[in-house]
Structures are given as C-alpha cells and as structure tokens.
Amino acid sequence: MITATGVVKKYSEEVAIGPLDLTIPVGGITALVGPNGAGKSTLLTMIGRLLGMDEGTIEIAGYDVARTGSKDLAKIISILRQENHFVTRLTVRQLVGFGRFPHSRGRLTPADEEHISRAIDFLDLGELEGRYLDQLSGGQRQRAYVAMVLAQDTEYVLLDEPLNNLDMRHSVQMMQHLARAATELGRTIVIVLHDINFAGHYADRICAMKDGRVVAVGTPGEMMTDDVLTRVFDTEVEVVDGPRGRLAVYY
C-alpha cells in the first residue's frame, strides 16, 4: 500500500502542490489523471523518491520514502520517467539487465539472466534483444524501458505517461502488457495517463488531480461520469456507453 499524508511540494511562493492525501491499495492498476500542471508527475516522482517533498510523508509498504535507503527502496518500488535518454549506447538486453542492479549490484547471476529473459519475453522483445536502443522505434524503445523496470522485480511499479508518443496500436499493446503485469505478475502499477478513455478501460482505480490536489478517487464506474470529468478537466465532457464500456466524449 502506498500512503501519502499531507504531502506538499513548493516550487515558489505561488506555485505549490498539495497538501495531498492519497492511499493506493495493493494490486491492480491505478491511473492518475488530470489536466496539465495538476501535479500528477510531481506526485509520482515524489513517491518514487526522485524528488524530495517539503512537507508530509509518503509510505510504501510501511517504509517511509524519505528515511529508507535508496538501495532498499529499489527492491520495493521502481519508477520510469517520461523522458529517457541515455548517453550510453546499450542493447535491449543490457538495458533490461540494469533492472537487476538492486539485487545483484551489477554481477549478473544465472537467476538474474532468467529474470531478464522473462521480462524481455513478457514484452515481446525476444527478437530485438540484441539491438541497440537507438536502432529501435519509439514504441519498441518504450517497451524496452518498461521491461527494465519489470526486471527490477519490485512490488510497486510507477510509470509516468508511458503512452506518450505512442500510436494507437502501440498504446493499446502497452496497456495490455501492463494489465497482464498487474494480474499475472501481481504488480501494483501506478500510471500517469492523459487519455481518460484508456484509464476508464484498463485501470482498476482512477485518481483525479487538479491544481495540486486529489479531487476524486474511485473505480472507473464511479469516475466515468459527466459530472466528475467535467469538474476535473474544466471541459464539457459527455460520457456515452460504448460497445466496450463507457467512453468520454469531449471533442
């Protein structure tokens, strides 16, 4: 379980995120949605200890993020940012291998190799594992990054807009992979999404943020309503019943 209590991040006198209180239960996919600048990514990076907070506490599975050593946290939680650019030239397999660093400190054991192969297969990267990252398309590269955090074998996985820059097909594939990771591998996935319809279809819980605060939390059924979405996004949203669940129409 991830618990945030009274979390505040001050960027300047006027701009601040929080105070935030949020509980994310174990299992399934939790989607963070909201307009630009709502603080979704900030919250995610604070949970993933990439960014320090000014007030409040965040606990992951009982460990205080600010006090627990980074080394120990790396076995519990993994985070993937939106922008990933590596100076080093790596193959897919080498990249995924880095996911094992928290466990093996860089000395890969046969068990590690097995984890790596499983993560690669899980994301259908088998044929690409020898390719360099700069030889891959955006969608393939994104899958390789996700394979790396899955190889890290943490109970909690945080992803910051993993669908960014992906086309329709790759977005759907990515969400299907993540849904499988949640059910088959039993991971707790927290994901920042921009497309509310993706959240409505794939997430188990939706957490809506606005102006640095959590304004609504609930199941897709509770959240996918005209009222809630219009209020969160400050845009006229109409929710219609589609063939595969509810769809938000806002065009």
Binding site: L50, A74, F98
Partner: protein, 312 residues
C-alpha cells in the same frame, strides 16, 4: 591490438635514435634515462584517460573534459604567481616533493570545495557546477595572464617552459609520491566500475536502481580531481588529451562497461601520448612540447568527429 601498439610505441621511444648499438652498455644507459619519461607517460595516460571517462560518466555528457573545471588555470596561476612573486627563482621554488604534494592538495581542495558547495547547495545541479567551474577557470586564467604581463621577458621565458604540458617537465623524484596517489584513486574508481555503469544512465535511472546519486557523483568527482591534479602538477596542462582518449576508447571498446573502458582508455592514452612524443622527437627533431601535437591532433579529431557523427 592496443597492447601491441602500446608496447611498440614504448619500445620505439626507448630505442629509436639511440646512438649506441643495441645491447651495449650505453644503449641501456640511454634507454634507462628515457624510461623515466615512459613511466611518466604511463602515469599521465592513466590519470587523464580514467579521469576523463569517469568525469564524463558523472556529468552524463560525452563532450566535456575535467580540465575545463579550472585545474589547469589553477596550475597556471600557481606557477605564474611563484615566478611573479619570487622571480625566475620561483620556478625552482615550486619544484620538489613537498611543493608537488602541496600543489596537488591545493587543486584537490579547490575541486572539493567547488563540488561540495555546488552539489549540496540549493542549486545542486551538475550543469550549473560545470558552468561555474568554467567561469572560475576563466577568472583564474585571467589573473595568471595579467601577472604574466607584468613579468620581465626572461622570467616569462622561464615560465612558458613550465606552462606547456610536457612529459619532460616531470621530475622523477615526484614519481614515488605520484604513483601511490594515482593507484589509490584509480583503484577506487575501478572498484566503483559497476556503479559507474549505472551512474552513466543519468540521475533518475540511477536513483531508481537504488544508487545514492549525489554521494556517488561527489565521490567520482573527488577521485577525478585527484587524478587530474596529479597529472597537471606532474606535466602541466594537456587540455585535449583526456577528451581525445575518452572519445577514442569509447569507439574502440564499443561498450558501456567501465571495466573494459578503463583499461582501453589507459592504453589508448599511452599510445597517443607516446606516439605524439615519438613523432615530435624523431620526425620534427624538436624537443618541444608534446602538448602542441596532441592539441592539434585532438582538436582536429574533435571537429571531424562532431561533423561526421553529428552526435556523441
């Protein structure tokens, strides 16, 4: 192959142009005298190669070199200051084991203060640190240049010889001090190689993998400053050597793994340095400055590389 090249250029430096017949007593005497230079080259290649590779990893940038961080300007200032205050005798005053250690210490303290202040303060940003380092370096260099203006021509002449990076600047007497220092710093970096691999992924990926990014960066930068300080105090500034070596060794090693890149960088550094030295001595017959050749070749290589590849 690199090892063969290194051995060849080393042997070339020892034997080529040796007036005595091979195997005679005189031959070995001359070779022995030259071997000091060779040891210095090995040491400098080690320092510059490994320091630059590590520095680029910590800075997450493949086109910078630690020498822009003000080491060379500081060295220049110390040397100039000595001549300025004490006259031509000053050059002698900054030679000797104790003075060597003091210079190294000064540079390391300078670096430690800079890194410590900038990486732990509210900026806590490597880019800002680099920028301030460059500006400080420029400032120190300007002070040194100003003092040089006030020197008499003969003093200036004496000083210039010290300011051009040259292997023959090195006093064999410094080696017993320099070797353990360098071995210690290099050894620490070697033991750190796996963490360096992770550090090279950038801050966010490194933190995600459980690395204490700030501590690791500080540690690497401090070790780098020891290596650079020893190298600079030993032979003077060699701006392009580190950069050239790091770039070449990444091309040659073609891996991200620091445990391979380090030895390749050392050997490459030695080949470049001793090759340049050999060319200078035996093709140009000038006992001049090896730094010039390296900087011409290094600068040219840098331009060609950037233009051809468009990325690093």
């Amino acid at each position: 192959m690199l090892a063969v090249l290194a051995a060849a250029s080393g042997a070339g430096n020892l034997a080529y142009g040796n007036p005595m017949p091979v195997g005679s007593e005189g031959f070995w005497l001359i070779a022995e005298m030259r071997s000091t230079n060779l040891v210095v080259m090995l040491l400098v290649a080690f320092c510059q190669g490994i320091a630059t590779v590590s520095f680029q990893t910590a800075a997450n940038n493949r086109i910078i070199t630690p020498s822009i961080m003000g080491f060379e300007s500081l060295y220049r200032l110390v040397q100039t200051g000595a001549v300025f205050l004490l006259g031509a005798a000053g050059v002698v005053a900054v030679q000797g084991g104790l003075q060597f250690l003091l210079q190294v210490l000064l540079m390391v303290v300078f670096a430690a203060l800079l890194y410590g202040w900038l990486l732990s303060g509210r900026f806590a940003n490597l880019q800002i640190m680099l920028l301030i380092g460059i500006i400080l370096g420029g400032g120190l260099g300007a002070v040194a240049t100003f003092m040089q203006r006030l020197l008499s021509p003969s003093e200036f002449d004496v000083l210039t010889a010290r300011l051009l990076g040259d292997v023959s600047n090195a006093d064999a007497g410094y080696l017993p001090l320099a070797v353990p220092l360098v071995a210690l710093a290099g050894g620490c970096l070697w033991l750190d190689a796996r963490r360096l691999d992770v550090l090279a992924l950038g801050r966010e990926a490194a933190v995600n993998l459980g690395l204490d990014h700030r501590r690791e960066t500080m540690k690497v930068l401090l070790l780098v400053s020891v290596l650079m300080a020893v190298s600079t105090a030993l032979v003077g500034p060699l701006t392009f050597l580190g950069f050239l070596v790091a770039m070449l060794s990444y091309q040659l090693a073609d891996t991200h793994d620091h445990r391979y890149v380090f030895p390749v960088a050392w050997l490459t550094g030695f080949v470049v340095l001793s090759g340049a030295y050999f060319v200078l001595r035996h093709l140009f017959y000038a006992e001049g400055s090896v730094g010039i050749i390296i900087e011409v070749v290094g600068g040219g290589f840098f331009l060609v590389h950037i233009l051809r590849k468009g990325r690093l």
